[in-house]
């Protein structure tokens, strides 16, 4: 039984480990785009969280009206900046994608021309 179990384990390990080396997964261009906007999204989420906590503390009267207004204003400005940056990144990526498609289309047309 020992030989059988160990053989199965070794065979399964070799197969599982070798599979990704032998079968290459095509690169997904969306992954790159997602990674680019990820940092901005996380930073934005953190500002949202900061605002939520600030509201809660205001609710519980831990911060004064002036402190609340001042900190909320600053946080909203940062959130707006991050949202704008994120949108810019997405639009740039989109336009790059469109440019690439256009180039490929033109190249295809050129090849078909006599």
């Amino acid at each position: 039984m020992t030989v059988l179990v160990v053989t199965l384990l070794v065979a399964a390990s070799v197969a599982v480990l070798a599979y990704p080396l032998l079968v290459r997964r095509p690169v997904d261009p969306n992954e790159q785009a997602e990674e680019l906007s990820l940092g901005l999204r996380k930073a934005r989420d953190r500002v949202y969280e900061e605002i939520r906590v600030l509201q809660q503390e205001y609710f519980l009267e831990t911060v004064s009206q002036e402190e609340y207004t001042e900190q909320l204003q600053a946080a909203r400005l940062r959130a707006a900046e991050l949202l704008a940056q994120q949108r810019q990144v997405q639009q740039t990526l989109l336009s790059i994608g469109e440019d690439v498609e256009e180039q490929m289309r033109l190249a295809g047309d050129g090849e078909r021309e006599p």
Partner: protein, 667 residues
């Protein structure tokens, strides 16, 4: 089973080593396929170690005494239920358990780390596999639980009697798992440094795994205290024993980490500090494994001692040097996005909390290593006793609890003295009133007790006040019933309110410690059957002694009738067992536990006439609260870990509209 066990550990070693190399090479060379392959080696190593665990359990269940470890830690008389305890009763089995626990958590953490983490995930996997490789090498070369005897004995030696206790089913595995669980946030920190992605990507995963390790260690420590209280027969629950301290120190560092990582999560601050903290926590965890499995100092846990000390000491040294070396190498880029704006803020409170926790950890460390230092320098082992730990750590712990009460009342970023005054005036007034009432009603005259009562009350009042105010405000705003409004309040900020539940548990724990430390009563008596003795308000009558003989032990039970002010309270049974093969007498105290006090009776010695016995009678006030704290720690951790729903915040809208409103100067 021996062959299967050794073969699967060998396969696990090959997989862990491959996983380490593939992850580092793949991450460094941006070879995605190799990284995936390395990650899969992690999962397969867990499977291989799982088979080894099953092989050892099977060997125990089938009484396979041809395996030395099975022969040394079980016998035919051992109830089947203790198989699990026998599994980790010695070094070899516990190391197999540690390797399997580490491997399982490594797999789980890598599965849970989002794929977007990229090279961070690959380097983290590499670090995890490197550490796993170390443990599996030790397991295979120096502490293989599957080594066979030349001739199998008919029966084994048996399990250590001290381990035949319900607490042993969970206390050792929790502590061991907690100690190795620190590896995950540590590996995430190292992965961050190695990948060069000095951002906050690792924060969420590290917070979750830091909390998991913290909860496992904390629960393991409490269960260990319960085991000591009920079985070691001295009436206490914490003795600053080196092995207890070895788990307590990383727990303190982790407590600091799970607080300060929140500051990084919320404010992008303390980046350097958090990496340094997790390095310290990991080094203390490795030190814990060295003390726990290496056995360099005398301890009540000596049954786990071994000659592997030098191996773990080397590992501790290498891990500490490598982690801090990498930390200093990346120091220049480990800059926080925000600086500390005010010393009067929640961030500053967290920082002071961290320093106090580390202060306690290092004072404890000094107490643990002092016997080693004295032996090296003077040739004599001088142990540091309980008074040292109590005098040094006691005030720092009180300051820490005080901060638990004040810190959450401070806002993030900055506060004015007016804000602080407004936040503190009511809790402090209520605290002073309650403390004064306690002093008068219970005639408390000990300053330390009054200070302790005051700081604990301040924490409880702060938490309860915030809950009450928050619930009322939510009830008014939404019209929801009070229980629903309270549930909504908790759900609105789970990390914060889960933390508050834990803070309340710490208050319960502190009250239990204060009560039992300052107001305990002890009396040693000899009683013949029919005699009575008084301790505190209780009268204990020795009604009978019952003897039972088993193959491996002789058990005696003292039947005790208890009364209070002449009113019968029932019968208690104190137990002891004599184990000739271990030359040991094991006891189980009879305990009558109430929220006010514990009546605790130890049945320690029976005279040759069989009718006279020595008893230790104790009244331990408020110990009940220490054990009640445990479930609250777990509950608070679960609340803090519960994933929050993703939702947008109403105040921040689409960029154009938000920008327009800001431009118009809208609030």
């Amino acid at each position: 089973m021996a062959d299967l066990g050794t073969a699967t550990i060998t396969v696990a070693l090959a997989l862990a080593a491959y996983g380490c190399v593939a992850s580092f090479v793949g991450a460094n060379g941006r070879q995605a396929a190799l990284v995936v392959s390395g990650r899969r080696a992690n999962y397969m190593a867990t499977l291989a170690l799982g088979v080894a665990v099953l092989a050892l359990v099977t060997a125990f269940l089938s009484n396979d005494f041809s395996i030395r470890y099975v022969a040394e830690h079980s016998n035919l008389a051992m109830p089947r239920i203790y198989t699990w305890v026998a599994f980790y009763a010695g070094n070899e089995g516990s190391l197999l358990f540690v390797a399997f626990a580490l491997s399982s958590m490594a797999s789980l953490s890598i599965v849970m780390t989002p794929s977007r983490a990229g090279t961070l995930r690959a380097y983290t996997n590499g670090v995890l596999m490197l550490i796993l490789t170390f443990f599996v090498v030790v397991l295979l070369v120096l502490a293989n639980p599957f080594v066979e005897l030349v001739a199998a004995p008919f029966d084994g030696i048996g399990i250590n009697p001290l381990l035949t206790h319900p607490g042993m089913f969970v206390h050792p595995p929790m502590l061991m798992t907690g100690l190795v669980a620190i590896t995950v946030p540590f590996a995430l920190g190292m992965g961050t440094l190695l990948s060069g992605r000095i951002d906050d990507e690792w924060v969420d995963s590290a917070r979750v795994w830091g909390l998991v390790a913290w909860a496992l260690l904390g629960t393991g420590l409490l269960l260990g205290a319960w085991w000591a209280y009920t079985i070691l027969g001295w009436g206490g629950y914490w003795a600053w024993d080196p092995v207890e301290n070895a788990a307590f120190m990383p727990w303190l560092a982790l407590t600091a980490f799970i607080h300060s990582i929140m500051v990084q999560k919320r404010r992008g601050m303390f980046r350097m500090w958090n990496i340094a903290l997790i390095n310290i926590a990991y080094s203390l965890g490795a030190f814990g494994i060295f003390i726990n499995r290496g056995g360099p100092v005398p301890s009540v846990h000596s049954f786990g001692a071994s000659t592997l000390g030098w191996v773990f000491l080397t590992f501790l040294g290498v891990a500490t040097l490598a982690s801090f070396g990498l930390f200093f190498y990346r120091l220049a880029v480990l800059r926080s996005t925000h600086a500390l704006e005010s010393t009067l803020s929640r961030e500053a409170a967290f920082l002071v909390n961290n320093l106090l926790l580390l202060g306690i950890a290092f004072a404890t460390m000094w107490g643990v290593v002092f016997p080693l230092i004295s032996e090296l320098t003077t040739g004599r082992t001088i142990t540091v006793g309980e008074p040292f730990f109590n005098q040094v750590n006691g005030p720092m712990m009180l300051a820490l609890i005080f901060l638990m009460g004040v810190g959450p009342l401070l806002p993030w970023r900055t506060a004015t003295w007016a804000t602080v005054r407004r936040a503190l005036v009511v809790p402090v007034a209520i605290t002073l009133a309650i403390t004064a009432a306690v002093a008068v009603v219970f005639e408390v005259r000990i300053v330390a007790v009054l200070v302790g009562t005051a700081v604990c009350t301040l924490v409880a009042v702060s938490v309860l006040r915030e809950w009450v105010r928050g619930t009322i405000a939510r009830h008014r705003a939404s019209g929801a019933a009070y229980p629903l409004a309270f549930a909504a309040l908790i759900a609105s900020n789970r990390p914060r309110y889960g933390g508050y539940v834990v803070h309340l548990a710490i208050v319960m724990l502190a009250f239990g410690i204060i009560g039992s430390t300052f107001y305990g009563t002890t009396r040693d008596v000899f009683m013949r059957v029919g005699d009575s003795a008084t301790v505190g308000v209780y009268t204990v009558e020795f009604a009978a002694v019952e003897t039972s003989t088993f193959a491996d032990r002789t058990e005696r039970e003292a039947v005790l009738r208890i009364s209070r002010d002449g009113e019968p309270l029932g019968t208690m049974r104190a137990w002891n067992g004599v184990y000739p093969s271990f030359q040991m007498v094991s006891t189980r105290a009879a305990i009558r536990s109430t929220p006010v006090d514990d009546l605790y009776v130890i049945f320690s010695e029976v005279q040759p006439d069989g009718q006279t016995a020595a008893f230790r009678l104790l009244v331990n006030p408020m110990v009940w609260w220490i054990w009640v704290a445990g479930p609250f720690v777990i509950l608070g951790t679960v609340i803090a870990l519960w994933p929050a729903r993703q939702r947008a915040v109403a105040y921040v809208e689409l960029p154009e509209r938000a920008g327009a409103r800001l431009a118009e100067g809208a609030p």
